[in-house]
Amino acid sequence: MAYLKASDISIDFPLYHTENRSLKKALLGQVSSRFGVDKKSRPVVQALRDVSFSLKTGDRLGLVGSNGSGKTTLLRTLSGIYQPTAGTLSMEGKLISLLDPQQGMNMELTGYENIRLRSYYLGLSKSESQMFEEDVVGFTELNEFLDIPVRNYSSGMIVRLAFGMATAFSPEILLMDEWILAGDAAFMAKAKKRVEGMVQHADILVLASHSPSILAEWTNRLIWLDGGRIVADGPAMEVFESYLPSQDFQQLLKTRP
């Protein structure tokens, strides 16, 4: 059983490289609640504040919120990249995160070499590596492009490769940031099928996106973040009803089957 539980997670971002006094003052003088000081009175951005939720097997969570509301920070925290400033994160299950399309990839290496790197990162045995490579090659359909360095790929091709590598050997917990939208329609259909297969294997998905239609399609639960805090948490359409402007929500309802 996979689970992911965040209890009262807060993240403070240190503002180190802004040693400029006047900037500091300006930041601290702001009425905005996002800027604060930590215990040693250094300026910080309060990226996340008391975020709590718990996900269990089969949950597909969407994250919505304006730019800078803390979606990516939350994803990074869930991935274990940022150690929370306060609170506890506990999980069970193999987690893979797709935060930056180029993550873990070396742009100068070829597609095949990157696939091999990834299988080393996952610690796969020789036979598993072979299965992994076949799976990724089959999914991405990049064919002969896999023989050339990744920096020559289009952004959509990079997404294909990154997505294929992240979801081969389906992880139990998959975290994805919004760049997944860079794929074409055919890819999106394929990607969705693959994630559905993954969720059928009783796993967890967390997806941050600005696209209501994608979130409505891919997720069954939404968390609305604003200013690093959870504003609303519930079934996707309920949260959309309050999050989206009414005409957008009506439009979303129309597109729903």
């Binding site: 807060s10 180190y16 990249i81 150690q83 506990s90 995160s97 180029q102 993550q103 790197l117 979801t167």
Partner: protein, 292 residues
Amino acid sequence: MSELAQPEAHRRYSAKRQSTLTADKGWMQRFGLVWSDLQEGAKLYRLVWTLACSDIKLRYRGSLIGPFWLTLSTAIQIGAMAFLYADLFHTDIHTYIPFLAVSLVLWGYLSSLTSDGCICFSAYDTLIKGTRMPFIVHVVRSVIRNTIILLHNVVVIVAVFVLMGKSLTFYSLAAIPGFLLWLIDGVAISFLLGTICARFRDIPQIVAAIMQVAFFMTPIMWQATTLRGHPGTESVVLYNPFVYILDVVRNPLLNEPLSALFVMKALVISGLLVLVSLVSFARFRGRISFWV
């Protein structure tokens, strides 16, 4: 579309099923996290090795002789310097050239370990922020990359020894434990400087300046015996930690005696370095992702 792997398959490879990450809770937790960082890193040995090799491969991609440019440029440097400095220091060219070749190659290794150590985290900020990876991966990657470069430069030492008719003896094998000590030191200094430099971006420049001064203050181009007859200059060697570190590998290679006191001092210096870097890495491990 190819089938997804069987659930059993990924249950097996999932190294760590359960994990908890809390806010900083003091030293017990910090050292625990360092330990799991090292443990998880050890499992990724193939990844580290491949990353280090691809660093070298990519740097010289499209180049005709590839990484042997390193060998060639070292050879040219030693060839050009040897004759002038042998004359300047009034030493016999047959002993001076092997000395210079070994010293320059080994110092080049130590100095690039240090300068690469400074950027071992900050250079991979996208990797650190994009995916969860033990920090030791970046550290060992830097050490291995520099060791591969060293191996290319060793060719020059071999050539010089053959040309000058200097032979290795059984005693030269004493360089091996010395070199193992260097590898430990290299990892320790990369952890330490990588962490500090992620936070303070002026440190790499300061370190570069220190290494530059150390290059001239350490017997690399000149031999320690040159100091005889210059009273008051002994302290340059006596209080220079680089001398002891350098000599545990250099002296066996040059068939020069290595006193137990030197070895002890090198061990003490390394021990302190490991201790300081362990404590500082443990203290700031959780902050590195915010800093890079």
